[in-house]
Symmetry: C2
Subunit: 693 residues, 2 copies
Amino acid sequence: MYIHLIITVAVSLIALAVAALFAREVLQADTGTPKMQEVAAAIREGAEAFIKRQYTTIAILGVVVAILLFLVYVIAGDLDTAWHTAVAFVFGAFCSGLAGVIGMWIAVRANLRSAAAARTSAGRAIVLALRGGAVSGLTIVALSLLGVSLIFTAFGSNPQETPFLIVGFGFGASFIALFAQLGGGIYTKAADVGADLVGKVEAGIPEDDPRNPAVIADLVGDNVGDCAGRGADLFESTAAENIGAMILGVALYPYFGVNGILFPLVARALGLIATIVGILAVTEKGAEKGSPMDALNRGYYICAALATLFFLGASYYLFGPAYYLWFFAAGLVGIILSIVFVHITLYYTDYTHRPVLEIVKASVTGPATNIISGMSVAFETTAIPAIAIGIALVLSFDLGVWSGIPNGGFYGTAIATMGMLATCAYVLAMDTFGPIVDNAGGIVEMSGESEETQKKIARLDAAGNTTKALTKGYAVGSAALSAFLLFSAYMDKVTEIVQKTPSMASYVFNVVNLANPVVFVGALLGAMLVFLFSAYAIRAVGETAQYIILEVRRQFQDKGILAGTKKPDYASCVDITTRGALRNMVLPGVIAVAFPVFVGVVLRHEAMAAFLMVATIVGVLMALVLNNGGGAWDNAKKFIETGEYGGKKSEAHKAAVVGDTVGDPFKDTAGPSLHVLVKLLATTTLVLAALYI
Amino acid sequence: MYIHLIITVAVSLIALAVAALFAREVLQADTGTPKMQEVAAAIREGAEAFIKRQYTTIAILGVVVAILLFLVYVIAGDLDTAWHTAVAFVFGAFCSGLAGVIGMWIAVRANLRSAAAARTSAGRAIVLALRGGAVSGLTIVALSLLGVSLIFTAFGSNPQETPFLIVGFGFGASFIALFAQLGGGIYTKAADVGADLVGKVEAGIPEDDPRNPAVIADLVGDNVGDCAGRGADLFESTAAENIGAMILGVALYPYFGVNGILFPLVARALGLIATIVGILAVTEKGAEKGSPMDALNRGYYICAALATLFFLGASYYLFGPAYYLWFFAAGLVGIILSIVFVHITLYYTDYTHRPVLEIVKASVTGPATNIISGMSVAFETTAIPAIAIGIALVLSFDLGVWSGIPNGGFYGTAIATMGMLATCAYVLAMDTFGPIVDNAGGIVEMSGESEETQKKIARLDAAGNTTKALTKGYAVGSAALSAFLLFSAYMDKVTEIVQKTPSMASYVFNVVNLANPVVFVGALLGAMLVFLFSAYAIRAVGETAQYIILEVRRQFQDKGILAGTKKPDYASCVDITTRGALRNMVLPGVIAVAFPVFVGVVLRHEAMAAFLMVATIVGVLMALVLNNGGGAWDNAKKFIETGEYGGKKSEAHKAAVVGDTVGDPFKDTAGPSLHVLVKLLATTTLVLAALYI
């Protein structure tokens, strides 16, 4: 076993141990009043029931895919690849699923503790929520790293061959991620839309009101969508991008030996250490002062600074003094891009800036102008990110080229991606902080805690909304930056397969000629898939929401429920949402997996590369449209609720509620699912490359 | 002068003469009551005032661009190209502008005659409106053909060189088209949204109610948007695609001589004859029976059948017996694609099918679900068209390859485009039929004609809405199919320029490698431009509508206006809309022209090709989203207005009105402007190719 792998395995195990300690700390905290415990139990049961059924469905689909994968390669006569790929797929899927379950398990427990703590100390509530989030973040990154390290070792540790054998791991992870994000995203927004439309709009009761039968389903949704979904998304990122970068490292073997191939894993391990330090830097005392966002940011900057330093060290030791500066600079490009993305996201979704205020103003003339204005903002948000990605890609590529190493360019983009992902675990912790405090808010409100506690938790909730939006920006940015690395890995893989035929030993697949009509059509169909997938994801929310609307209306016919004298049947709403979300996630999911395979088999590998590339471009831009558009609508509503333009109950507010509802499936279902789609396409093509030649 | 050109010039002149005869027939028809004349005069004056100011603005921008074009080539040391390009640009712009003015001039007169005729005979009203439309259709296609023929002759008729010299003509035409479509599109929808929001929603008065101060502006908008805008769009198509196809013909010179280069013009001339026959086939007697759509379709099918026959003949005579079948088949692919597109458009926007009914159902739960469902339908509409385009492109390319002629593939896609555009003049006549009968409806309603006349004209109006939607489908299809032809022309042009350097004489630009990061970034920025441009086009409508809303509210403060005792000040609304539309068209227009040039200069010709190709892909898909989404929302509202789901004034109807309003800037401003953008990008790169090398 290489020393690098010993380090990564050791660090992964340490990170898991730290996660266990954080979990113990959270679990030992005060669990509040019986009323709070009762609400939290309902959320916990709903979430766990959903996850159980969701993973059962996914497992069935996964087994089918694993068998198909195996058969495809057996029929192609490559038994060796067949079992390696199938085993790696199952192992990747298992690790991703396990990480998701652990993250969720702690999130639905941390919410209650954070709520209980908020009664006495906001600082303690922040720390508990962040440590709860850190359990999720550390587990996800550590399991991904551990999984790749172990399977690399198990499959023989041959530096030049093994990276190609483990691609199934990334595919397994993306497969889980797609369904976790889709199912969770549909669940959370269907419950939200359903609860709001009947509760807020028709019955006129406030959000999180215990009389609303869908309120628990809504709170469950925050966990299964934002927490489990985004966790699976970033598990996939770390896994697939590590493997892709390792494949690119193979081409540099003559220069860096195994160092180039294992650098991605070492960099990730160091990122884990930086994250642990960052999390520990957020103390109760510190969090008590200033805004919650300040406390979270302090930890983030410490983590980022440390990660940069570690990156420099790792570059020096693994690439050597002659080359390290070029690749460290490429990594720095990635780190800077992640910060730029966060600021762009803030500009477009925060109500202190022009875009959201434009939507607010348009709300005065009704829902139609609110939507028109929001769509215009949503489309506009693609511009600066696209330019930033363009600069980052070309710059990191050029840095790699300037190193003077052949094929250094593509490796440069890979290193930039590693830089961007260095702080991944911390970002994930902040992301999971969101649903935890959101839930804490719901628990506090439903259990009738004091006005003061509600206010305290509301400030945390606002910070959580911000971190959720920022993580989405981060996830899009990483999907975009990693694109090149994954394309190149696909092209290297095709080259590797074709070269096995003796007469083609000198073939190199390095041109994707868009001027060839078949390739152009591949690109056209790639772009189309993004639109079609978005259509089905959005529709799935609409359809599932319909079931909930009918159920809530049915329960409201019992006058006792609205009067507050009778407890609504929360469980039936949870159950209906669960079944609806699982049923409706299948069609978009299957299209996302099957359509590219169909196109690849018919149009072959060059067209498939164009399909992948243009789908990535359009997927990233559309994800920005949907995420930022939804975020802007959400905050336009929140701004009006602060009392501007007539405040709550005004016509402007009603219009803004429509915009917010429209934005819900955009920003929490279709948008995040698109990040996953983009990466799933990359891992599918990578795994099935042999079919397209 | 080649015999081909004598034919095309002769046919163009005949078509113009026929257009003049149709115009005389329309002008001599009965002009109805003084009340009707008064309303029509207001529309006419508003439209003519707008067009005058719009073309003044465009002329200023055009002169600036012409001077820049000239200077760029002078600085590059190519005085010959400099003046040829600048002159061709100005001439193209002039012909496009002239065609637009003539089409508009007759449309704002035919509306009154059609309204007057509707009092006695629906058949007569149809014939007058269609002939009015035919004046526009024939003039546009004939002027485009005449212009290209004349400038080709004037610039020396050298079959292998002149096609490259006249590309400025196409650029001039697209430049006009962009601003005509943008300005007209902003005008029409700002007026519509403004009139509806204050009139229908706030004051509760019906559409086209004479008490609404914005009603005349709304009727003016139909002319300047649908009529002048789409006219300029298809003028550009015929001009730019003719020139592109001629350039591709140059490569086939060794096989077909000048025949290959001039085939596109001959095919267009024959299409004009087919159109004249088709228009004449729609008689008063025939139109009286059956639905209005049947009458229009009868003419269309006669035109299409004749055009196909002519295409076969032209292929035989110009390509010779050995090759003609391959290229005729390619033309047939284009003709079939145009029919397929029409049917797909109908499926997605007609309320007898699933997509619109889905939106209708979602309207019951309010505006938010209406919008969510509509967006889902809008995104979905990209799928089948993309597959159809893919098949048509590959098939027509393969047919060209199977002919056995080198470079025959790209020429095959060019011939398919020629096939699609064969019926262009008839389609344009049907399209202009739309605003004419829409206006006739407004005139009848505002002048208080009988219930029966109103009903008669309403049926025509419904047919007009259908033809407008279908034309948009046709325009998108032609933009998509012509894409390849225009890319190839650009690549040929780059090759031609580079080969002038002796050391590069054997260079051929035929690879656009998307795996090259700079090229990939070009593609990314191309996709982004489509989103950014859509954002600005949609925002322009919102901003202009705000001015009108304020003005209508201001006038409504005078109680006499709503009571019907005092005439509102229509002219001030017309004036405000005009100024707003012209001001707000500049930003998106300038970005559309300037951004690609910037990208091309920085990233060079290969990245520019990728920019163009991916912008085309995303532009076409986004145009489908916006056009069909808007059309579906519109018809969902109309379906409810037939009395379903509670009919007018129900909650479902209110929700559907919101969807319809959101769809307005999508389908009539941003969507149609995207067709033009896609073609403008192609002509810009073609003209400025020298800058990007």
